[in-house]
């Protein structure tokens, strides 16, 4: 029997509270072992790990790369996979591989297969893809079902074509379908972090508002505690509320620390928006059970008549190269606002030779306004400054040409009152120019209004249909490893058809 079926049957029969382990808010940055192991001893019903976020910027999504290091990611996956299998409970991983598009999911699955093979593990795994078919997005645009998030311009067909990857953020439905089918492990592409934890208890009629509130807190592990941290957290859920306890004894979940967590990375502390509705936290109430455990009640679920899926897409805008240099001459620093554009103009004349400029060149001056973008009036000139020149150009070679030329002319630029005629810059190393590869920007950050959001993450097709252009599917896969032999099967959900290869 699969882990999800076992847990579902057990809770239905015993009508008991459920226990959830939030093992990591960012799988791949390390999961402290003592707290994780302490959590496994508390008879949990599910281990959840969020693996991604949009906060890391557009490049990982666009490039199809993880933000976390492969070594650390594999170590974390190994820990949670072995832990979940040891106590035979579902392991649910959302937003696989940092950004949750196909290459991120594939890289995560490759690690899981590798771990399973090395450890001789056998389990049933559901894979839920989050890549959105472009024709469907264009159709939604034509039907007026696309809304830009927070002032994003209207989405055009060209935006959709230009994006390297476009993912939709799935809600609870696709997870529920997998859990109902019977699985041990779920690996999902881009997903709401709450769905990782809230899907299972809402199948058992625990109140969705309470489940969503609990999920929103424990997806960040022990960040809701004082002191906040990455250690595994345990939530115990009943039909009226839930209790929080960090599995690291030094971390205390207090009513204030837990309430304050509702602020974190959220525009509105009283509401958590999901595809199917929102969690209303206005009547949430937090009570200390003791000095390190808090009980939370009062969240309400408000379903929406207009479900939406949040879309994220990133497009390549060229190749990026940067120049890194310091300065300690007060006259140079004081005049940087005139010097830098003057050098940029010299560079433009040299590298363009009368042709239109085909690149962008920007400077940030750290110590002055590099972080804030503006310096308040009256701030004194700093004694040192760090200058970063950034070029984005059509090719790697062009970007390198621009920053190398910039380096030379900024080094030797003459300005009024100059004393340091041998050079304006201090290079911490040479070459001071670095090619950073392709640059991306978010060109899709939109809500798609859709009557049945779960249908965007449909079950029941195997990898062959992926090859035929159907890009996102749920396909439970039985991972069975015998004597280095890897059998991977795919099962069509809701039907009797099985494929083995």
């Amino acid at each position: 029997m699969s882990a999800s079926q076992r847990v579902l049957d057990d809770v239905r029969k015993a009508q008991r509270p459920m226990r959830f382990l939030g093992a990591s808010g960012q799988l791949g940055y390390g999961i402290p072992t003592p707290a994780f192991n302490a959590g496994l001893l508390r008879q949990p019903d599910l281990i959840g790990c969020d693996m991604g976020s949009i906060d890391i910027g557009p490049t990982y999504l666009g490039k199809g790369e993880m933000a976390t290091s492969p070594v650390a990611t594999r170590r974390d996956l190994h820990k949670v996979l072995l832990g979940a299998r040891r106590v035979d409970i579902p392991l649910v991983i959302g937003s696989a591989g940092s950004a949750g598009a196909a290459p991120h999911l594939e890289a995560t699955l490759a690690m899981i297969h590798d771990i399973a093979r090395a450890e001789g593990l056998h389990f049933r795994m559901a894979v839920i893809r989050a890549d959105m078919p472009r024709a469907l997005l264009k159709q939604a645009g034509r039907e007026g079902r696309m809304t830009g998030m927070h002032g994003m311009p209207a989405l055009t067909d060209k935006d959709i074509d230009d994006a390297a990857h476009i993912v939709g953020q799935m809600g609870m439905g696709p997870f529920r379908r997998a859990l109902a089918e019977g699985v041990d492990v779920i690996v999902a592409g881009r997903a709401c972090d709450t769905a990782i934890f809230a899907a299972l208890p809402t199948m058992l009629d625990f109140p969705p508002g309470i489940c969503g509130h609990m999920a929103k807190i424990i997806e960040c592990a022990s960040l809701c505690c004082v002191p906040g941290g990455r250690d595994t957290i345990l939530a115990t859920l009943d039909h009226e509320g839930f209790e929080l306890e960090s599995m690291n004894p030094v971390r205390r979940a207090t009513p204030t620390s837990v309430a304050a967590h509702s602020l974190y990375e959220q525009a509105d502390p009283y509401s958590v928006r999901e595809p199917e509705g929102h969690v209303d936290l206005r009547d949430a109430h937090y009570t200390a059970l003791d000095d390190r455990r808090t009980r939370v009640v009062g969240a309400r679920w408000v379903p929406t008549a207009d479900p939406t899926i949040k879309l994220e897409g990133a497009t390549c805008i060229g190749e990026r190269a940067v120049l890194l240099a310091g300065a300690a001459d007060p006259r140079f620093i004081a005049q940087h606002a005139e010097i830098l554009p003057a050098v940029a103009e010299v560079v433009r004349e040299l590298v363009c030779e009368g042709q239109p400029q085909d690149y962008t060149l920007r400077f940030r001056v750290y110590g002055v306004n590099g972080v804030r973008g503006f310096a308040p009036d009256g701030e004194p000139t700093p004694s040192e400054a760090f200058i970063m020149g950034e070029c984005i150009a059509p090719t790697r070679e062009r970007a390198a040409e621009v920053v190398r030329t910039t380096k030379q002319y900024l080094l030797h630029h003459g300005y009024p009152g100059r004393l340091s005629t041998a050079g304006n810059l201090a290079f911490p190393f040479t070459p001071p120019e670095v090619s950073l590869g392709p640059a991306y920007r978010f060109n899709v950050y939109h809500l798609m209004h859709v009557a049945d959001p779960d249908a965007l993450f449909p079950p029941g097709r195997d990898k062959r249909s992926v090859a035929q252009g159907r890009l996102y599917h749920l396909f439970p896969v039985t991972v069975a490893h015998h004597a280095q032999e890897c059998l991977v099967g795919s099962l069509v959900l809701g039907g009797a058809e099985r494929h083995w290869r």
Partner: protein, 99 residues
């Protein structure tokens, strides 16, 4: 007195790539009330400080967390010219606010 002299937390972070959210949190209800009632953290003052129109600034009082949340628009995180992809250092202008 400056905000940084008695707030327990003054932080900023993205709330999605198009918004910045600033949290100011206090250790005591008295400190929270003092700032919550002060005009210094109202949308007009914040708009001036961050050079955005006041109508684009949202200020939410959250007594349960002894916190005031401020949400502002930002240039899309990661766009060319961005200075703070996570938005984690945009709290700096708040530090010196006189209460």
């Amino acid at each position: 007195m400056r905000l940084s002299d008695f707030a327990e937390v003054i932080r900023s972070k993205n709330a999605g790539p198009r918004r910045l959210t600033l949290d100011v949190m206090f250790a005591s209800d008295a400190d929270y009330q003092r700032v919550a009632q002060s005009p210094a953290l109202r949308r007009e003052a914040i708009g001036l400080l961050y050079r955005v129109p006041p109508e684009d600034v949202a200020v939410i009082h959250y007594p349960l967390g002894r916190a005031i949340k401020i949400t502002l628009p930002r240039e899309t995180a990661g766009d060319p010219g961005d200075r703070d992809v996570y938005g984690a250092q945009q709290h700096a202008p708040l530090l010196g606010i006189e209460i």
